[in-house]
């Protein structure tokens, strides 16, 4: 993975990135790319290194070693040029508590100077009625929407979104998701760091999973879901899970009467599974082969990486 060439179609390219804090390695030698115009979800538990990686990519933090290229630019050396072409939505804060919504947006539009109009952005994030409100009077969701609008003031070719929907109610979430989808459709590369796996599954083309400052997955959402189909079934018999796992060559877990298998993309999987049950004269009920949830895959990959750590 480290040796992949970054091509011009990659809007973001991270190579062998290492970030150390005084006594802690926050990010340990990671590499990944994001294709231009795609939505890449960066997921992982708290403290996994997501925000640190985003900060290095957006030029706010310097890396200990490794290289990052954003739209072909170096976030440190070409910072001002890069900043004029990307949008960054940070986690929490970043606005003076006494500043008013309209003023702040106007100010950012002027800073970027690319003819984005504050009045259009205010309407886009549905804060038309809050134009005169100060930052400290806004609800959590309204703050997030203003943050997104500030990032959009860049008319970005690439946008970093760090937990864009955290603390946002359902209506606000739908609005933010729709805005992000429109951005991606218009060719903007989206890098989305999130805890919400459901959100990542709905929005992402590509998934990068972090744990303990390392990558545990870097794959298209389709591949990730396709190679990790889940099959659930119910049975009244005592099943030897190890034997089943060995026979099917996959991860198996039991939850009461329900058995769950993380299947490969092997077309004969279901047939082999039913045959095994018939041969062993076991009852087979509620056989269900569904699209897996990203959350299940995430749990599985995470626990696998924890096992490797031990």
């Amino acid at each position: 993975m480290n040796m992949r060439n970054s091509t011009s179609e990659n809007a973001l390219s991270v190579r062998n990135l290492v970030v150390d804090y005084s006594d802690l390695r926050a990010v340990g030698n990671i590499s990944f790319d994001a294709k231009a115009g795609s939505v890449t979800a960066v997921i992982g538990p708290n403290g996994a290194g997501k925000t640190t990686t985003m900060e290095v990519c957006s030029g706010v933090r310097t890396a200990t070693s490794g290289t990052v290229s954003i739209l072909g630019l170096d976030p440190q050396r070409d910072r001002l040029e890069m900043n004029s072409r990307i949008g960054v939505m940070l986690q929490d804060g970043g606005v003076y508590p006494s500043a008013r919504v309209g003023e702040v947006l106007e100010h950012y539009c002027n800073l970027f100077g690319n003819r984005q109009r504050a009045s259009d952005l205010i309407l886009a994030v549905d804060l038309g009625s809050k134009r005169k409100a100060t930052w400290r009077k806004l609800s959590g969701g309204e703050k997030q929407r203003l943050s997104l609008a500030l990032a959009l003031a860049a008319k970005p070719e690439l946008i970093f979104l760090d937990e864009p929907t955290s603390g946002v109610d359902i209506v606000g979430r739908d609005l933010i998701r729709e805005l992000v989808r429109n951005l991606a459709n218009s060719g903007c590369t989206v890098i989305l760091a999130t805890h919400e796996l459901d959100e990542a599954q709905r929005m992402a083309d590509h998934v990068v999973m972090f744990n303990h400052g390392r990558l545990i997955a870097d794959s298209s959402l389709q591949d990730l879901l396709g190679t990790n189909q889940t099959v659930t079934l119910r049975t009244t018999n005592e099943i030897d899970l190890t034997a089943l796992a060995q026979h099917m060559n996959c991860h198996v877990e039991q939850n009461g009467t329900e058995i769950r298998l993380l299947r490969s993309s092997d077309a004969s999987f279901i047939a082999r599974l039913s045959t095994w049950f018939v041969e062993n004269k076991f009852v087979l009920n509620d056989l269900n082969s569904g699209a897996p949830r990203l959350e299940d895959i995430y749990r599985e990959l995470n626990s696998a990486s924890e096992r490797v750590d031990k």
């Binding site: 030029g59 900043n83 949008g87 960054v88 970043g94 800073l111 860049a154």
Partner: protein, 227 residues
């Protein structure tokens, strides 16, 4: 920054209070000048320090802790333009301070007969660059609370050792030989020369110039956007 009441106290309240108090309570040695003729330039120097260093420095420190700087750091603004914008904004506040102090001074009997206004304006501009540089260097490196204390502490030291309300030749020998190199001394001496139509003190001009260049360079180079 002028939206906050405490800033108004620092920018206007303290300078005007000192001017009124010490011009009425005549206890200061004033180097042969009338107390008001001695105080007006000193208080002008103080006003420059309060707006360019303390007020700007503290506000910038809080901008860091609120994450405002981190967010601005993701725009094409850049450190140089940020420092320039802050200095420009300070100049507007100082125009107000200059006007107010002049008015209060006039009301207290000050007569600017021989004042060299060009020297006054140039000195204030140079002083602003110098003290904004110092304030932003501190704000660029220290945590908001530490920065707040450091700015206020430095303000007090420069107020006492800068010939602002007390002439430096009244200080103990060691303090005086140290104080003569301070930017506050250079600023107040230049303003005193300007306000009272005395000869231009070249030494003070050089000292203030060197401080301005050093402070501004360090503000731009040591400035950090994130906490």
């Amino acid at each position: 920054m002028a939206r906050n009441g405490e800033q108004l106290l620092l920018l206007v309240g303290i300078p005007v209070l000192l001017l009124v108090f010490f011009s009425q309570v005549d206890i200061l040695p004033t180097q042969g000048l009338s107390s008001i003729a001695f105080l007006v330039p000193g208080v002008l120097a103080l006003a420059v320090m309060s707006s360019a260093m303390v007020s700007l420095g503290i506000a910038t420190g809080f901008e860091r802790s609120y994450g405002v700087l981190r967010r601005l750091g993701t725009t094409p603004l850049g450190t140089r333009r940020l420092v320039l914008a802050k200095i420009t904004a300070t100049c507007f506040i100082e125009i107000g301070q200059l006007f107010l102090i002049t008015m209060v001074g006039l009301a207290l009997g000050w007569r600017p007969n021989d004042s060299n206004w060009l020297l006054i304006v140039v000195t204030i501009a140079l002083g602003t660059i110098c003290f904004a540089g110092i304030g932003l260097t501190l704000a660029g490196r220290l945590r908001a609370e530490v920065n707040l204390a450091a700015q206020n502490g430095l303000y007090l030291v420069l107020l006492l050792l800068g010939g602002v309300i007390l002439p430096n030749d009244e200080l103990p020998r060691i303090a005086e030989s140290f104080a003569q190199w301070l930017p506050s001394t250079a600023l107040s001496e230049l303003l005193r020369a300007g306000v009272n139509g005395q000869d231009l003190a070249m030494k003070s001009l050089v000292i203030l110039g060197v401080w301005s260049i050093t402070a501004c360079t360090s503000a731009v180079n040591f400035f950090k956007w994130s906490g």
